[in-house]
């Protein structure tokens, strides 16, 4: 049996600092919103001319007067991702770019993807993203509240907040782009983390009913160990699937799978080191669950 409980205090400090640092990053550095949430235009180009490189392309684009612009390689050497504000929401901007590029480089570009999100739509998408995440946290809270005692709910929700905030913190730290698929990833993380916590909690409650003489400090450790191999196997298989998406699923799914990978790692960690320590700190005992049983 591994003595996870030995490190409860240490990891509580770690978790607290992780959350604090993430919050500071989120407040002061902010998130790198993609065009979904900021508005603007995105173009994915593939060139058939190997002489064209990212510098010449960047120079050409900066002459076009498109506002704040970024030109980057995307995946392999012939693919480029161009993003710009399109502040005036010009209607024929893509045609202009196309004819401009044709003039300078010849007809060597394939417009693989064009996305244009107006300011109104991006504001709406951001709003519905925030609502979706808040709503999912609220529903999880409600679900766990009817399924478990309040001490458990608090633990699970703290673990959830930790996972969401720290994942977003990592995205802020490395200026990774937040787009619609990241919202999907965050929601799935919420589901996964909850899942992981509930499995351990289920065991904690079962053990609470079974043993009256074991303190919660020990009891959580027993429960973590009893469910440990399941925790590891499920995280491993989920991570295997996610790594396959990350490495082979193409550029578009990179951000999404990275967020999920982070979420699974943080989610597994928080189920052990946040959710359980809340139970310990709130001095949950057999009485807590038995009282609830009487009420039912």
């Amino acid at each position: 049996m591994i003595a996870f409980n030995k490190f409860y205090n240490h990891f509580n400090i770690v978790s607290t600092s992780l959350i604090t640092v993430s919050l500071i990053l989120l407040i002061f550095k902010g998130l790198n919103f993609g065009i979904d949430f900021k508005g603007g235009t995105l173009i994915e180009l593939r060139s058939t001319d190997t002489k064209i490189n990212v510098t010449t392309l960047r120079d050409k684009f900066s002459q076009m007067n498109l506002g704040d612009i970024s030109v980057k390689k995307f995946g392999n050497d012939t693919d480029y991702l161009i993003k710009f504000e399109n502040k005036d929401n010009k209607k024929n901007v893509i045609e202009e770019i196309k004819s401009n590029l044709d003039k300078s480089f010849g007809n060597n570009f394939n417009f693989r993807r064009v996305e244009n999100v107006g300011p109104k739509v991006s504001a709406e998408l951001l709003k519905s993203g925030v609502i979706a995440i808040s709503l999912s946290l609220a529903i999880m809270l409600f679900y766990i509240w009817i399924r478990f005692e309040w001490q458990f709910s608090l633990g699970a929700i703290l673990a959830l907040f930790h996972d969401v905030i720290v994942t977003l913190g990592v995205f802020s730290l490395f200026s990774l782009e937040i787009n619609l698929s990241i919202i999907a990833a965050v929601l799935t993380i919420v589901g996964y983390s909850m899942n992981d916590t509930v499995v351990i909690f289920d065991r904690v409650r079962e053990n609470l009913r079974k043993y009256s003489d074991i303190k919660i400090f020990e009891l959580t450790n027993i429960s973590i160990n009893e469910t440990l191999s399941r925790t590891i196997i499920t995280s491993v298989t989920t991570l295997l699937a996610l790594l396959a998406i990350y490495f082979f699923g193409g550029e578009i799914l990179k951000g999404f799978s990275l967020a999920m990978i982070l979420g699974v790692v943080f989610g597994t960690y928080s189920s052990i080191y946040i959710a359980n320590t809340v139970l310990v700190r709130l001095k949950v005992s057999q009485k807590t669950v038995l009282r609830e049983d009487d009420l039912k």
């Binding site: 394939n110 064009v114 619609l180 996964y192 899942n195 009893e226 295997l240």
Partner: protein, 517 residues
């Protein structure tokens, strides 16, 4: 409880085989009248355009108020009430009246059976609201009035959008209302999205009006620019004929001077008016105005009584074709703005499919390899279950003709990763039970029972996340929630019916075996 009845085994087998068959039917192009359902590929996988259009209703409101000022003036003129200083500002009509008429105005507008302020009997709210400050009145659209106006312009606009897209001839376009001022257009497999965009971006309001030098024209005049944006001409506001009078418009080659032109034919009313105007106006210039710009302003040389004519204006064949198309399909009631566009080229779509399939195959192989190494026989059971699970998932997607997107494929891969969770929970529980329980069958039974709450909890939480995403998410991301959500149900089914069947067979055959795992 490890016993499965023959009937149950049979039905589970038939059910699984059925879905495997349905899933496989996607691979073959069979012309089958009984079953022709297929998984749809999302725009991000097959290539195509997603456009969200917003109707700019401000000009419509302006136009309606313009008409209303005339109505109000005439209505009260008949009642000998003088309306003074009537003007339009801020999407409202302002005017004032003499003191003795004030009450009459208020009464007329608030009358439930009012002639000029309708809707009350139907909506329990008038079309217009009137505010008074002293003798000054402000009339504007009520909430209900605005809704009715928006809805009707949306209805008209969607019809015109549909006609224009049908004329371009794309396969299976999807054109839907969104809210009361937006239209969603999905165009799969489009060759030239820019053309459609430029076609939808034009109001196509065509008018024929005389060029005039007389500033005191009865109908008023306005200065309009030519298409080149440089030259200008003063044009009367009197409309001779408009786009509504057109019966047909076609691009044509003018053999005399090798120009592309658009020839048109007019309806009866239009032909009559056109004939009259061309007979009285010989020598004058007739401006052909499209969306506030002059295409050309030819000099009238002869009376045209045939009701057909042609527009020239330095067209290329493409631009003449597009103009003819716009004129045939009619004018939009209001300008449309493209507020969101997502276009994926067909080759990127194919690349995404390939990448998704490779990721799915590799993810799947990694998971089943891991499970086999970890659990041996039970790993094998899990893996077979997982394969059937995958087929049932694809079968259900086929049955519902669901749209598969790239995030949707990610959802399937994630389902593969998470689907083993339930089996792992059960197997781990059984292992624990076996430590104290010598009877294999009892240990298995308890394992299944005791792990049930954890499994259900775990799946409900994921399902909740998927449901929220389904309702809040948009576009491709929605596809993720669909596969993830359906994946949960197929996983539970395959764990409790298929995997359990295999385990029960294996355990009953090895009921006395010492080490099962």
């Amino acid at each position: 409880m490890l016993y499965f009845s023959k009937l149950r085994i049979l039905s589970v087998t038939i059910f699984s085989l059925l879905f495997i068959l349905i899933a496989l039917s996607n691979l073959f192009k069979v012309e089958d009248i009984f079953f022709d359902k297929k998984i749809n590929l999302g725009l991000d996988l097959q290539g195509g355009s997603y456009l969200l259009l917003e109707i700019d209703n401000a000009p419509v409101v302006e136009q309606k108020l313009q008409n209303l000022t005339t109505t109000i003036k005439n209505y009260f003129k008949d009642k000998d009430v003088k309306i003074n200083n009537i003007k339009i500002e801020d999407q409202s009509i302002f005017f004032n009246v003499d003191d003795q008429n004030k009450q009459l105005i208020v009464d007329t507008f608030s009358d439930q059976e009012s002639d000029i302020n309708p809707y009350y009997p139907r909506f329990k709210s008038h079309q217009l609201v009137i505010e008074e400050t002293g003798l000054n009145f402000k009339v504007s659209f009520s909430k209900q009035g605005l809704i009715a106006l928006k809805t009707s312009s949306q209805d008209q606009a969607i019809e015109i959008v549909r006609r224009r897209i049908d004329e371009v001839g794309t396969n299976e376009p999807n054109i839907l209302k969104r809210g009361n001022n937006r239209i969603l257009v999905e165009l799969p497999g489009l060759d030239d999205p820019m053309r459609v965009k430029s076609l939808l971006g034009k109001t196509a309001n065509l008018t024929f009006r005389f060029v005039t030098n007389n500033e005191n024209d009865n109908f008023g005049v306005e200065k309009l620019k030519y298409e080149d944006g440089i030259d200008e001409a003063t044009v009367s506001k009197r409309i001779i004929i408009s786009g509504e009078n057109l019966l047909d418009a076609q691009p044509q080659m003018d053999t005399q001077n090798n120009q592309t032109i658009v020839s048109f034919s007019l309806d009866r009313v239009g032909a009559k008016r056109f004939g009259k105007a061309t007979s009285t106006g010989i020598g004058k210039q007739l401006a052909i105005v499209l969306d506030g710009k002059i295409i050309s302003a030819p000099v009238i040389r002869d009376t045209i009584a045939s009701g057909s004519g042609q527009i020239s204006g330095g067209f290329t064949f493409q631009s003449a074709t597009d103009l003819a198309l716009l004129l045939r399909s009619g004018a939009l009631p209001a300008p449309l703005n493209i507020i969101e566009e997502r276009t994926v080229g067909p080759d990127l779509g194919q690349d995404s499919i390939n990448a998704g399939m490779i990721a799915l195959t590799i993810g799947f192989l990694l998971v089943i390899l891991f499970m086999f190494i970890k659990y041996k026989v039970f790993g094998l059971i899990t893996n077979v279950t997982l394969i059937i699970n995958l087929f049932i998932l694809l079968g259900i997607l086929t049955l519902f003709e669901a749209t598969l997107t790239l995030p949707g494929i990610a959802g399937i891969i994630l389902t593969v990763g998470m689907a083993v969770d339930a089996n792992v929970l059960i197997f781990e529980r059984i292992k624990e039970e076996l430590k104290n329980e010598k009877n294999n069958i009892i240990a298995f039974d308890t394992g299944y029972t005791k792990s049930r709450t954890a499994i259900i909890d775990a799946n409900i939480t994921t399902l909740l996340a998927a449901v929220i995403l389904f309702f809040m998410g948009s576009g491709p991301v929605k596809g993720f929630s669909v596969t993830l959500g359906i994946g949960i149900f197929t996983t539970l089914f395959s764990v409790y019916f298929i995997a359990r069947l295999f385990t029960s067979i294996y355990v009953s055959r090895n009921r006395d075996k010492e080490k099962l795992f």
